[in-house]
């Protein structure tokens, strides 16, 4: 396992830990916008986990060759070649 995979694994695990430590956020105070901690804590972890997972996804696929565009010689290449590298 290279370093990138280790970092990816950590980024994926953090949100799990954040949600598993229930006693740490199962409280009313501090409130935000009238929402008890229990609610707003779990809401803000949604975008944070999305960003962490995305970075992990990029790290996992670095150096991994893409499966789809491999020319297989059977004429099934994509029509819009110009957009292939725009990702």
């Amino acid at each position: 396992m290279d370093n990138k995979k280790v970092v990816a694994a950590i980024l994926i695990i953090i949100p799990f830990v954040a949600y598993f430590i229930l006693p740490a956020y199962n409280a009313q105070y501090p409130e935000a916008f009238g929402l008890p901690l229990f609610y707003w804590y779990q809401i803000i972890w949604l975008p944070i986990s999305g960003i962490m997972f995305y970075i992990a996804a990029v790290l996992i696929d670095m150096g991994h060759k893409r499966t789809a565009p491999v020319p297989s010689g059977n004429g099934r290449r994509r029509r819009r070649k110009s957009r292939k590298s725009s990702r």
Binding site: I12, A27, S49, D61
Partner: protein
């Protein structure tokens, strides 16, 4: 408020919705007589399209209707839906791209295709296919419950409400079956985007509008019982086991796998899954409707005046109706209405694939490619109507309970589908026995927890406090599979290993 503008906006948007569904046929044109084209959109969906397709089809009437009503009745426990939709996408981004690569290489359309190929076992594949179909049915039925809830709210107080809403539902399903048949997954994808736009606008408008009108969330929370403010301690284990097991279950459902396999490549798929927790913000707020309604006395009184059997599912529509102008109610109601229809279409396609490829084809191996697609199309239509019929026969509250059972059942395919993606050592007999023990213990424990009566809970008492039964059944299943495979390791089929080397 409901007035003529409500009906006008609702009907106009519904016509646009159906038109988009049929136009899907022309989107990224392909030969729709091939099953990959019809049911997977030719495996040609990019990051954003998969994001919308999978997102839209995972956030369904379960989200818009069932979870907020449970939240309204029970409180904070049902906020487990939020951690669930965060971590489920971590599981998806680790498993689905791998399944996609195998599928692309070996031409799979379903998870059972993979199991059949990998273990060289038709019986195991059929087991997985049947489990998928059985677990998916109550999920489709739940979509119809959501659709019905919107119509009931919209027509409340009208004479002949039963008749009008029945006719409307049947008409909606005929239109839905039409575009499922004609456009397949392409139609579902395009309508998913339309649906999401309506839903996101609705959630934002209601949250902003209602909190502004009642003076913030704090007011709603102070009017609600204490079990809403924080999670009662007796539910701690239940909360964690519910979100963890639901997260594991979601991508075992045939419709989730079907959506994932439609991606254009594995990298796009992984990225779109990884970003879905952000999409789930909409869900985090719509579940709060179950609390917000406590701050709106007019909506709360209306709900309390309805019979208990139907009041639950009406929480979200009632809150919208009582707080928004007429035209906007039409807009929002259509969003929820098609929020049930679009997933129902994808679920029907996924069931049709399983039934055609993994069951019918096993008995009729000579089914040609064209006939296979034609069969799948008709089965999809058939199941849409079976789901419809289900709701006319079974009361709404049952559908939600059966959905709980469906989650426990689908979890029993976890070893054969998810674990088999990462190891070649699983023993197929161990998988079969583990499955059986998981299913039997799961159903038994649910029956026992409900004293063999009406299903109302999927929690059981355990040394760790209340626990989700899906966790217990799955652990039993896993222990059997892992011990069996450790003692007598299985072999993946040689053909599979040779063909998938280096994937």
């Amino acid at each position: 408020m409901i007035n003529d503008a409500t009906y006008g906006v609702f009907i106009a948007l519904f016509i646009i919705f159906i038109a988009i569904g049929f136009l899907g046929k022309r989107f990224r044109k392909g030969d729709l007589s091939k099953i990959e084209e019809w049911s997977l959109g030719g495996r040609n969906m990019g990051t954003i399209l998969v994001w919308f397709l999978v997102g839209a089809d995972l956030f369904t009437a379960y989200t818009f209707i069932a979870v907020p009503s449970s939240m309204f009745k029970i409180g904070a426990l049902y906020y487990f839906a939020v951690p669930y939709v965060s971590i489920t996408f971590a599981i998806a981004m680790l498993t689905m791209p791998r399944l996609w690569r195998y599928s692309k290489k070996r031409g799979y359309v379903t998870a059972a295709d993979f199991v059949k190929d990998k273990f060289n076992s038709r019986s195991l594949a059929m087991l997985i296919a049947v489990t998928g179909i059985v677990a998916e049915l109550p999920y489709i039925a739940l979509q119809v419950v959501g659709i019905q809830a919107v119509l009931t709210s919209m027509l409340l107080g009208t004479a002949d409400i039963g008749l009008i809403s029945s006719v409307a539902i049947v008409l909606a399903f005929i239109a839905l079956a039409g575009f499922t048949f004609v456009a397949g997954l392409r139609g579902v994808t395009l309508t998913a985007i339309f649906k999401d736009a309506l839903i996101f606008i609705t959630v934002a408008a209601v949250i902003i509008g209602v909190t502004a009108a009642i003076g913030g969330f704090g007011h709603a929370f102070s009017s609600a019982p204490a079990s809403f403010v924080t999670l009662p301690h007796k539910f701690s284990s239940a909360y964690i086991s519910l979100f963890l097991m639901s997260a594991l279950a979601l991508y075992l459902y045939p419709h989730a796998i079907n959506g994932s396999l439609s991606a254009k490549d594995d990298i796009k798929l992984r990225r779109s899954q990884s970003l879905l927790p952000i999409y789930a913000l909409g869900l985090a707020f719509i579940v709060l409707f179950g609390v917000l309604i406590y701050g709106v006395p007019s909506a709360l009184n209306l709900i309390k005046s309805l019979p208990a059997s139907s009041s639950g599912v009406l929480v979200v529509p009632t809150l919208i109706e009582m707080t928004m102008p007429g035209w906007f109610v039409g807009f929002a109601f259509l969003g929820i209405f098609i929020g049930g229809l679009v997933p129902a279409a994808l679920m029907a396609i996924a069931i049709a694939n399983l039934l055609t490829r993994n069951i019918i084809k096993e008995f009729k191996p000579k089914l040609g490619a064209h006939l296979e697609t034609r069969t799948a199309k008709w089965i999809a239509v058939l199941f849409e109507f079976i789901a419809l019929g289900f709701v006319f026969i079974v009361p709404a509250t049952y559908a939600i309970q059966l959905q709980l059972l469906g989650g426990i059942i689908i979890l029993q395919t976890l070893p054969a589908v998810f674990i088999a993606l990462f190891t070649d050592k699983l023993n197929k007999y161990g998988l079969g026995v583990g499955w059986l023990v998981g299913i039997v213990s799961g159903i038994w424990l649910v029956e026992e927890a409900n004293h063999f009566g009406l299903l109302s809970t999927s929690l059981m008492s355990s040394p760790f406090g209340l626990l989700f039964i899906g966790a217990t059944a799955t652990v039993l299943n896993l222990v059997i599979v892992l011990v069996w495979s450790a003692v007598s390791p299985g072999k993946a089929s040689k053909e599979f290993l040779a063909a998938t080397k280096g994937i």
